[in-house]
Amino acid sequence: MPDGRFIDICYHAPVTMKFSTLATALLFAIVTSIGVGAPAHAKTLRYATQDEPQTLDPHSANLAVANRLLSNIYEGLVFRDKDYKIVPWLATSWTQPDAKTWRFKLRPNVKFHDGSAFTADDVVFSIERALHPLSQLKVAVQGVERGRKVDDLTVDLIMREPNPVLLNHLVFFRIVSKTWAEKNKAAIPQNYKDKEETFSSRNSNGTGPFMLLERQPDVRTVIVENKTWWNRNSPERGNVSRIELLPIQSRPTRLAALISGEVQFVNDPPTQDVPRLKANKDIKIVEGQEARVQYLVFDTSRDELLYSDVKGKNPWRDLRVRQAVAHAIDVEAIKLKSMRGLSVPTGTIITKFDQGFSSDADKRLKYDLVRARELLKEAGYPNGFGVTLDCGNNAPAADICPAVAVMLNQIGIRVTANVMTIPNFFPKLQRADTSFYLLSWTSPTSDALYTLQSLVYTHGGDGVANASGDNNYGRYSNKDLDRLIDQFKVEPDMKKRDALIRDALLLLNRELPIVPLHRQIIPWAMSAKPGTDVTAIFPPNGTPYFFRFKIQ
């Protein structure tokens, strides 16, 4: 997932007041106010966030904002527990009868929010839906060709190609009711051509711990506990029974709402305000490392850079110049100044939460300006050169970009920081119309494969790794690296697979087609007032799983 946060800021939905929804909401308000049907422990969490998803469709958008909400409504075959380990969820067990098949036993007596039973038909249908060309969740079923119903509670996933980490992918595979989707003409994720709204974008029917009560895009989205949830007796379950998602785009307003007690939870407080929030005794901050890496990329493919004053050759193609850049970046200073301490410097593109991470590869070149200048001189640029660095205008990239420019200027690389709006930045990258850029990346699958094949595999290469080099906008290409990725993609033995990944990561450290900077630490701000004291757990994917939240 290339930087959900980048896209986050663009995703919103319209205001709408459906009369039936309103009526339900009013009714609910009356019912709760007179205390009928409301359990004694009923707790409401009001949650403010910069952006909410523009759609509730389980498969049409692969974005952090959408995942945050939908992961509470829809569920998959497997899930992650508190310690981020994969655990059985809607599937109770699985086997691999042969290399091309995964067989899942489904949990009995699971019901969708509309009361219909969950069966193998829904799984088969959801696979088909997730694989539809207009789905953005194809990665959730990577390698799967189709589903096959064996009986009502047994389903086979037929693989087009082997995927040793299929379970990591399936965590994000959301299952929707087949009859519901077909009845409401929502059998495909979205449809631009018919020029009408897809039903599933404002309605939902999952099996998850919360169900949709009210949806007024840009105003509020209310989810309430699913009283027939199969896992209600889980020891991990907290006590929140109603969540009001309130989008507040303006940062000061969002924090004002938290401090004044109008909301109890903010998942995206601006980093510069975190120290002030920590000083407030009514607020607490839960910090978590996010599995997201911020990194710089060079155009290593062109013979002459598009945005540089060096003519006739491409300085980035010289390894020494790339090393000089890595040496010149003071990542601790970026952490201190741009990130206000909320980052963990790293030397590798995947994180410790991802399968294949190796601490050997997590090594940065030392911050050493003298060495950097020497390297530039050896490469034939004693007086440096000029180049443009492209980045998005979102936080924290917009702060890091000028810092990097200043640091590289110290060794003579005259960097012009070009901070652009997101709708202009992404298309520019997609055209590979760049010489040097800053981006961040997270792998929704918590595995090295998706990251490596997207970021550094030869663009459009026809190796085993399909969808290859899609986000390789520097167009780096290395046959040895491609071969390693092709190998570990189909390697079933996890030990051998991890070793191959390690080799690939070490190769990247030697060749430096990208310079990783740091992993981000994400602060969640929440109320600590007695009565609305929120307890939350930060998972590395940054998704608040509300069923684990507690209010005391």
Binding site: C10, L22, P252, A256, E262, T421
Partner: protein
Amino acid sequence: MLAFIIQRLLQSILVMLTVGFIAFSLFNFVGDPVSLMLPPEATQADRDEVRKSLGLDQPFYVQFGTFLGNAVQGNFGISLRLGRPVSQLLVERLPATLELAMTAAVFGLLIGIPMGVYTALKRDKWTSKVLLTGSLVGVSLPNFLIGIFLILIFAVWLGWLPSFGRGETTAIGFWTTGFLTTEGLKAIILPAITLGFYPITLIMRLVRAEMLEVLRTDYIKFARARGLTNNAVHFGHALKNTLVPVITITGLQLGAIIAFAIITETVFQWPGMGLLFIQAVQFADIPVMAAYLCLIGFIFVVVNLVVDLLYFAVDPRLRVERSGSGGH
């Protein structure tokens, strides 16, 4: 009269065409929505396909032509960001913006006029000087800053008013109103003051200047000579005569308030058209931007037309001249 209205309406169509044309010629620079609509792993063929089905592969004048053709039939297309018809979105958002703008305008009049009268009558009092200096602040402070100050004082420190949103709304037909619930009424106060700050100061200064002017005229002196009470002179004669330009300016300001509610709506997460527009810009949602700009152009034109007609109503000389030139 009728000819005048028709002439002005024809002019307004020209204005909207111009607004639309300029807007479309700029849309090339706001970015490519397709890159945000499709997954990153989408192939170039996928992108081209969607671009084609949305008509984005056409040059801007062709897109503009298609837009006009559909707009004439009341179809503004479908929002790229939300996948819903744009006309429906605007109708849903319109009540929030209009209620906010009207409340701000009412604040402007109810607070601005008395303050203007006061500062004109008690021009040497220190309170007048404070108000005048304060009004300079109101004119020069940017909207969002005023909004943030108000939030800090009334939501964070005092905890009296909500810092965001529209509160609970009630639906009457297609119109949703926040005026019928306490929550809704509380929610509109801060944004309306923020949005009304500039009109308040403007009206106050205008009324003051006009009052000072009028108070010097002979008929006021005559009224005083007749022994009328101060109140009768000030409010019955002087104020009445200052209100003509005030009505005109308020009318014109109303258009500006609606159009510039964007910032206030963003600060207070007020779910109106301005917030919709800001988000459309971030997403390069061309149909929404086009429809919004045309709608705002239309509102300005209508407000100007009404103001022109008001001139007819209040100033008999205009009527006489027209009918005179027509008759001879």
